[in-house]
Symmetry: C2
């Protein structure tokens, strides 16, 4: 793990660094390494600060909490903090449709699809990458949606909703099964939104 | 591509070979190479016979048709010819439940999960592997199930059913999202079978 940003003065390599763009980039590089190495749950802001040779307060100052740091380090195209209120705010009615549309829009854009797809691909060949993806998805996404529904087996129900969305994306964008690749957003919403809605509410 | 089985007499390398276990293994090796190289749809029994330096009639004699050859070459744990009648024979009632149970049983066994998982993993990093998986899944599996249902968008509906099953397997066995990994077969059937049944019938 590199602990210094490119171009940082050699004197910065021993002590703690001051702020700046190089420092920010160095923290993100160390965060990627730490998440990949330890998984999402075991990675810590403190450990990342230590690897980047900065004060933990600086990491908090730049990135807030671990979830935001992960979102930035992994180049995720949206922040759960912003998206979840849009999904959950209007209440449980239409939640299935909102989830399907959001998911399709993220995956329809190659630029926003790539980080997720990269994590999913890594998770299929590396236990650690699977651990990282699982930790983030469970803590930052599924847990929050689950907290908003009131049914037995709600963790399982939210996980199944996620499995339908991930499976749809995998066959539509990666394996490219023709009927899925050729379907419009509205066709998919018509068939898939009731599935998601039923998992989350019925 | 090697065209000779290990231990085959050197004289066999030029002309066509006679039958035997070595020949059978050589045909399977050439079939794997041809499927990987050309994808399922474009691979041909004739091309595989040529690569293995045997008469095409011998390939048909050993393996029947292209689908069976693929099943054997890829070490798939079941033959669509055997499984589909069990799924579809009893009619449309309970088809969702039969599909979920079959799928879980195949994936619960590491030995039978591995060939599918290997194909899926390859499909995520290789366009050709995606083509091979898509061709087989579309022709041998989805097409036959679709032929048995009578609804508009039936190809799309069958593909969505497949996407739910694949997504469930991916999060349960590969990413190992805890609520899915810990769920029993019956818990999953209770929640997922209605999804599959609705896609295929409602």
């Amino acid at each position: 793990v590199s602990t210094a940003a490119d171009g940082a003065p050699p004197s910065g390599r021993r002590g703690r660094r001051a702020g700046g763009e190089d420092t920010r980039a160095a923290i993100l590089a160390c965060a990627r390494a730490e998440f990949a190495d330890k998984g999402y749950d075991k990675a810590s802001m403190r450990g990342i600060a230590r690897a980047a040779a900065v004060d933990p307060a600086l990491v908090h100052h730049y990135f807030g909490d671990k979830e935001h740091l992960f979102v930035e380090a992994m180049h995720l195209p949206f922040d759960p903090e912003t998206v979840l209120p849009q999904l959950l705010g209007p209440g449980i009615d239409g939640l299935g449709e909102r989830l399907v549309r959001l998911f399709l829009r993220v995956w329809d854009e190659p630029a926003s699809r790539e980080p997720f797809f990269g994590m999913l691909r890594s998770a299929m060949s590396s236990e650690r990458a699977a651990d990282m993806l699982r930790g983030f998805v469970s803590s930052a996404l599924l847990g929050r949606v689950a907290a908003s529904i009131d049914l037995p087996d709600r963790q399982l129900r939210v996980s199944l909703a996620a499995s339908q969305l991930v499976g749809m994306a995998l066959l539509r964008y990666v394996v490219q099964v023709a009927p899925l690749t050729n379907a419009t957003e509205d066709q998919l919403v018509l068939l898939v939104a009731p599935t998601i809605q039923r998992y989350l509410t019925a």
